[in-house]
Symmetry: C3
Subunit: 470 residues, 3 copies
């Protein structure tokens, strides 16, 4: 990871001097260890093709929904920020950057503020505080840096010390970029695809017939029958595994699970292909398919990760204009205990099966996830995610999970980001927070410092390696 | 605000000496700024008529449901406390005060204890700890003070430095007191009415026909039709606006929203007037009317505030004897993401529309309110309210909301109280807690002290001013 | 309680030196006070018969579901740990102990780690850290100690300073051990049975007819009618009371309450006896019977405690092999406000009725339990329980409950354990955490140190004594 420049070396460490001293020593043990990023959204072509980044806005603002959503709340139109492929010329990009800098105060106390400060300070070596007056200078400095070889994606991956980087990919993806990256022995970061089949499991989608056809095409299997559909999914999982994939990811509204009679599953599948499945049937089918994914995982060994509980595209007018992933996915309450009982009844103690649970609903950390991860050998408590991957939320996560499940039943940190330049800041944040949490255990005489030291290192090495089978 | 006397100057500031030093400096910047109280329940006639307060019990105990509910839990009958208009003579008042003082230990650690200590110490300059032995002396001292001109409502409002005070009023209220206060140039506090139409929107009430008739009478509009009812509501909102109103307040069980077909709304309205609307129809009508309130807000510009999730009058025998607001409104879980989707789909990005969300269910702060306020330009995260407006709960609120929505998408503090004398203590508490929270951000190097200083001031000036359009 | 040996005297006290000093003084005031354990699961025969404990595994691992569940999650089969009566010979016990020691790192940060460290250090005076290399030595040391008179159950109860110990017992239990203990004037600990009728109220159980027959047999009352069934329950409660019982305990999925018409209750009862009650009828009957339990409590004065919200036997294959209480009871969300409205409407203000509410769902602490306990004279906020009886969870509990309900509306600590040797560690933990919490109130100038001192003592003396009518 990066050495620090203008940023305070003690940031995020506890204020109490005695505890801070302990935290400093613990953090020092992990600060420069390689980054393992087993779940995220960096486009693999960036690394495969190693083309320079376009401009500050296209790199730092337009793809970062944390940033553009809060600017939108402040009254800045999404179109002015180049969101969702809205084309911006140099003038537009500069203007977007200025809008961001003018609204810098709105980010005080947010995770975005923390990460961006780290990106500007550490990655670009800039010390000016963003504001109306510094906006253009900052823009120019970043734009200039982006033209240099040091700021090409691969150089940055090396500088960041990223040893493993997982992407998130469509089941029909050829994974050509992953193939190219694996073939290239000069590039040392291991880039793993992640199988994300959500929309191929949601049979009420208007494009379901089309999607399953594409799936069949990719697998070279006739998917006009349920059997073919299952075989094609199995084939594509194999394809991902052959290209270095270690996990599959699933993000539906809930995690209710059930198993349909084979005939019933086939019947609903056929009805869905002709657009005749009811909403209830489609829901049952998706819940059945989640169990099928677990069944396949017990066979091919891919780790299964669940990211439920986001109500996608909350604001219809914004969706209609800008499409998905434009800042208005809003969390809802979620339930794991009852939802997963069927799945875990079938596979919860199957050797080699691994299931990592993420949530946007904090209430389930102590109530459901930690108790599940503290009994089932297959279940891991996933790191805080999305709205919760911020300093205080991470602190609450450790407080809610550790006393029941310890550290070894957790997943290790995931950055889950497409903001490539913020990856080191996010992992560094997590290491600082873990050091702070462990330091508190030491200061309160609940853990020896030697044990805390070992745990801090485990949390960024053996723990993610085991949870994600790396 | 008040200068402190016997109370510790560092109360509520962080224990860590370094962080406390920062917090002290931040608090010093806001301690004496005027109080903006944009939502509360002080009767406007107190200020309009400026009559002396009756006695210690009538002023400090009988109207304060935080106090009398905990005394009730300790076994003190409500009737002995002058609750809900139970008449108490001098003997009874003194006896009630004694019961309170004898139970002072039961309040340890509560918000009420903190406020009352501030009221006794700061407002009355008393230093005795309430107890059986000090009860009478305290009673006499307070009673004596209340006869002096310095303790008349207007003198206190001035001494407290209240620049804005919103009351909560019935739609048919003539607002004569507000008119008188606005006409009186000697009184400097701006007193704004708040339009609170709850019961006029709940068509299953047995008195609905009567209520709508009264509404029509107040507006001089025939409310026997749905169209007239809507017009009357619009008219009364205008009336409130004309008398300085800036917001409307809505406190129903849930915040589900929907829009009925015009004919359907009219049909249910007619059925309700003749007592023939079903419970389900009445619920649909209320949810529809909440959207109508938002629609009107986009037209007249009044800010809309939601205070849902209280199950009113939990204990039927107490309600039967003492009526509403007698200490047994108990919170229930609440949901905003799905509930408000329809309303926000229609008005969420309409220029000038503002919606402030309050909750008694803490789980929605990080899960729903902060994500909504971090996307929609119309949505603000309301300050902690009722059972949650206490030091640790406020701390949790900042921790849950800030990392996603920052400070500028919040409402600023509201005291929501009818305990007039506790207003400075409550606002002072909030300023201390914000100083403490900001100091921690500074101590952990997440914010510069200059930024924290500016934010602390914003939180009691520009932020409430903007959220409530003051 | 015990004096400390190798364990740090300041463990669990706040890291800030000033706050720690206060906490030390507060803790010193309670550290050696007798232990009141008003709810737990120690088998009464241990004390009645005072037989030596078998071996380290049978004493410390096999009965402790916190320990064996986390070992199971780490991949250790339950059968290897002597769980649920799986017989282990000396080899097996030693091997189980070794598996535990080898997995000691998995417990870092957990409550189990904290307790076990206290048991090894304080009860046995051992200082070796468990590991593969120390496992056998530790085993031998513990096994040797267990053969000495000092480690017989009664000697330990005396050494631990346990003044009251409640067990949990079946309604048909003869309570002969309790009778023997009460008759034995040499043994000073008061051992009270607790009436736990869950399965006798769940009429959909396949063995319901058999259970009610046994109940009738115990009470010598014909339970073939609903009237007889009620009379038998009343009789057995009396039996418990006669043997020193002070409370009844109820642990169902939810706490919804209702009262059936007498004829309807009798009808469902009759249907259930012949196996013909529907699931819905059985649920209604159970909810009705919870109210009947409250009604009986208003008559016989037994305190009623509720422990809802655990989904029992989550993993069917484990249940099939090992039976209940084998580590896979997983919490679910729970609701009290609406659920208890009917019961509290009937009995909430009845003199002498006492209802203690426990939860595994933390969200209800601030939202429902504290508001209920802050109004109803009958309701007490139960101490954190099961997955929540760990340092940080206890801290969150105090933070969530105190500001609304204070300290005097809480139950005092319960250990709820069958891990007899951990009882002093658990109570000591609670006293340290209360000292820490109170010290923070003092450090933030919300409470005088004299008040905090008094409160710390109340929390382990008058408060549990009052809540459980001891």
């Amino acid at each position: 990871m990066l050495s620090m420049t203008s940023l305070h070396p003690d940031r995020l460490l506890p204020a109490d001097p005695g505890t801070r001293d302990i935290a400093r020593r613990l953090y020092a043990a992990t600060a420069s260890l390689p980054i393992i990023s087993p779940h995220g959204h960096v486009p693999p072509e960036w690394l495969a093709e190693d083309v320079p980044f376009a401009d500050p806005t296209a790199l730092l603002l337009s793809p970062d929904h944390y940033i553009f959503r809060l600017l939108h709340a402040q009254g800045v139109p999404l179109a002015d920020l180049g969101v969702a492929g809205t084309a911006l010329d140099e003038q537009g990009s500069r203007r977007a950057w200025r809008l961001f800098c003018e609204n810098w105060t709105a980010f005080r106390g947010t995770a975005s503020r923390y990460w961006m400060e780290n990106v500007l300070g550490d990655v670009f070596g800039l010390t000016d505080t963003p504001s109306a007056t510094t906006a253009d200078t900052l823009y120019d400095s970043i734009a200039a840096a982006l033209t240099t070889p040091e700021f090409r994606p691969r150089a940055l991956a090396k500088r960041f010390g990223i040893s493993v980087l997982a992407t998130t990919d469509d089941p029909v993806d050829s994974l050509e970029h992953h193939r190219a990256l694996r073939a290239d022995t000069r590039f040392k970061t291991r880039v793993a695809p992640t199988f994300r089949p959500d929309r191929y499991l949601e049979s009420s989608r208007p494009d379901f017939a089309e999607l399953t056809k594409a799936l069949g095409h990719a697998a070279d299997i006739d998917t006009s029958t349920y059997g073919g559909y299952i075989a094609a999914l199995e084939d594509r999982r194999r394809h991902f595994k052959d290209h270095g994939g270690v996990s599959t990811d699933h993000s539906h509204t809930d995690v209710v699970t059930l198993t349909l009679e084979p005939g019933e599953a086939a019947r609903i599948y056929a009805a869905a292909l002709s657009g005749e499945a009811s909403e209830a049937e489609a829901t049952a089918f998706r819940r059945h398919m989640l169990v099928e994914m677990a069944r396949m995982a017990t066979e091919d060994g891919l780790v299964m990760t669940l990211h439920p509980g986001s109500l996608r595209n909350h604001h219809a007018p914004t969706f209609d204009r800008f499409g998905p992933d434009t800042g208005h996915d809003i969390p809802i309450g979620v339930e794991f205990t009852r939802g997963l009982q069927h799945l875990l009844g079938r596979f919860g103690t199957v050797e080699g099966f691994q299931l990592i649970l993420f949530t946007l609903d904090e209430t389930v950390f102590s109530r459901e996830i930690a108790p599940l991860a503290g009994f089932y050998p297959s279940v891991y408590a996933g790191a805080p995610w999305w709205f919760l991957d911020a300093p205080e939320a991470v602190r609450r996560y450790r407080g809610a999970v550790t006393e029941t499940a310890g550290f070894h039943r957790t997943s290790g940190f995931i950055d889950d980001t497409r903001a490539f330049l913020s990856i080191p800041a996010r992992h560094d944040m997590s290491r600082r927070l873990d050091a702070a949490y462990l330091a508190q255990l030491v200061a309160e005489h609940r853990l020896g410092e030697d044990e805390a030291h070992e745990t801090a290192i485990d949390l960024v090495t053996t723990i993610p390696t085991r949870a994600f089978k790396l």
